[in-house]
């Protein structure tokens, strides 16, 4: 019998095993926990490591697309929980886990601790908005609590000096992770307060796992932030991380640079603002003075001032006019009176007996009564004849 024809090749065997595993849907979606060891962060961005427990291990790989989503950096000795699938890498005849999601194990209890503390402090009112102090518009001294190495302090300094070349930053270096960090941070805050060393405090650290950020979740830090007289801006971890410090602080900034931007006013803006106020002050005063001048000029241009004598002259004119009127009236009056008088006189003249006398007539009177008719006379009556130039006594014959 020729065994060699009967025998299958290695490739066939591995392919067969691969299919066998692929068919098992349990192995296509498994949730597995273990400890990471000989972790390699390959330059391609893929992560290679083995997962082990006390008595066995299994190779793992996490492709770059999944690895990018991790919010922590795995390292040897870390306990993790992995969601992925099992498959065979045919070339090496090795079955391994293809990890899709990975989370720190034991995180669970740290996370629950965080939730519990957060709830407790919330009930105590440490997060209440009314306790949050306003951020001063122009703090003279910027206090920074952060590690003195690394990019955090560098970013803060760069952003601050860009916004205000004359900024005064006072760094109190504090450990930002690990044992005893919380106590040092809390003490740092109290120290800055006690000695009034800053007008505002920035509490900052870079990204990290929940474990790394843990000091900022400690109650001691929460209380020191709460009791701080100096307003505190917190910028802890990645933009997506929220530590208890962020809830208690007066303002939470997504990144250290953002914290610097919130703490340090932009000098150029401030200057522009002040200059604009000065201009507005000047303009409104000029406008006011202009208004007043116009009103003044309006008065001065009124006739009363321009020709003060005008009024008087006008009055003189009025007086003259009245006088003329008077004179005319008087003249008129005299004339009319005169003509009236002449009329009367001429009427009188016409009616006056003297006129008739002057024409040779006489007035005959008897006993001082004018005799108009012969019948009033009898012979022998003595009558008086009035001539223009005198009287004659006569007797009727």
């Amino acid at each position: 019998m020729n065994y060699s024809e009967m025998a299958i090749t290695v490739t066939e065997l591995n392919k067969y095993i691969k299919n066998k595993i692929a068919e098992d849907e349990y192995l296509n979606e498994i949730l597995i926990k273990g400890e990471i060891s000989n972790f390699k962060n390959h330059y391609t961005g893929h992560l290679y490591f083995t997962l082990k427990d006390e008595n066995s291990l299994i190779k793992c790989i996490m492709f770059k697309t999944y690895a990018q989503k991790l919010n922590f950096m795995p390292k040897d000795g870390m306990k993790v929980i992995i969601l992925g699938s099992v498959s065979v890498f045919e070339r090496d005849g090795v079955y391994q886990i293809y990890a899709k999601v990975m989370q720190e194990d034991g995180l669970g209890d740290l996370y629950t601790k965080y939730q519990k503390l957060k709830q407790k402090l919330e009930e105590q009112g440490l997060f209440k908005q009314e306790y949050k102090k306003p951020i001063p518009m122009f703090p003279k001294i910027i206090g920074v609590l952060s590690s003195q190495t690394g990019s955090v302090i560098k970013d803060i300094i760069n952003v601050s000096t860009r916004r205000n070349p004359n900024v005064y930053i006072r760094l109190l270096p504090v450990p930002v992770q690990g044992e005893g960090a919380a106590e040092k941070i809390a003490y740092g805050i109290e120290y800055m307060n006690k000695n009034k060393l800053a007008d505002i405090l920035i509490l900052a650290r870079g990204g990290g796992s929940l474990e790394d950020l843990w000091p900022f979740n400690e109650e001691i830090v929460a209380h020191s932030i709460f009791n701080s007289e100096i307003p505190i801006i917190s910028a802890v971890g990645h933009e997506t991380d929220f530590t208890i410090a962020d809830f208690v602080s007066d303002l939470r900034a997504p990144t250290p640079s953002a914290a610097a931007e919130l703490a340090v006013p932009d000098i150029y803006e401030l200057n522009k603002k002040i200059i604009s106020y000065e201009d507005r002050l000047r303009n409104s005063l000029i406008k006011k003075v202009e208004l007043m001048r116009l009103r003044y000029e309006k008065c001065m241009s009124s006739v009363v001032f321009k020709e003060p004598t005008r009024k008087i002259n006008d009055n003189y004119l009025k007086i003259d006019m009245h006088i003329k009127q008077l004179e005319n009236l008087i003249k008129q009056k005299c004339k009319t009176e005169k003509t009236k008088y002449i009329e009367l006189v001429s009427k009188l003249d016409a009616l006056s007996p003297l006129k008739t006398l002057s024409r040779g007539y006489t007035i005959t009177e008897k006993d001082n009564k004018i005799i108009k008719s012969k019948s009033n006379l009898n012979t022998g009556d003595t009558i008086n004849l009035k001539f223009i130039d005198g009287n004659v006594i006569a007797e009727v014959k």
């Binding site: 300094i157 900024v167 005064y168 006072r170 106020y277 000065e278 002050l281 005063l285 007043m292």
Partner: protein, 73 residues
């Protein structure tokens, strides 16, 4: 306590608004103007005479001192 910068700026803003309303008589306008300019000069002074300082508080066994802080470029 010396007026805080905020209070100064707020006062300045208020004076500007009052003047712009234009209801003040001439005398008040002038005195408000002078007050405004005085405050703005004070604000400027505060901005200018600040001096750049980047320091670090060093704790030598309990004794804290303040020294120049150089970030390793």
């Amino acid at each position: 306590m010396k007026k805080s910068f905020e209070e100064q700026i707020e006062k300045l803003e208020q004076i500007v608004k009052e003047l712009e309303k234009g209801e003040l008589n001439l005398e008040d306008s002038v005195s408000k103007f002078e007050e405004g300019i005085k405050i703005s000069k004070e604000c400027n002074k505060e901005l200018e005479n600040a001096e750049k300082k980047i320091t670090i508080l060093i704790n030598q066994n309990g004794e804290i001192s303040e020294e120049e802080f150089k970030t390793e470029e």
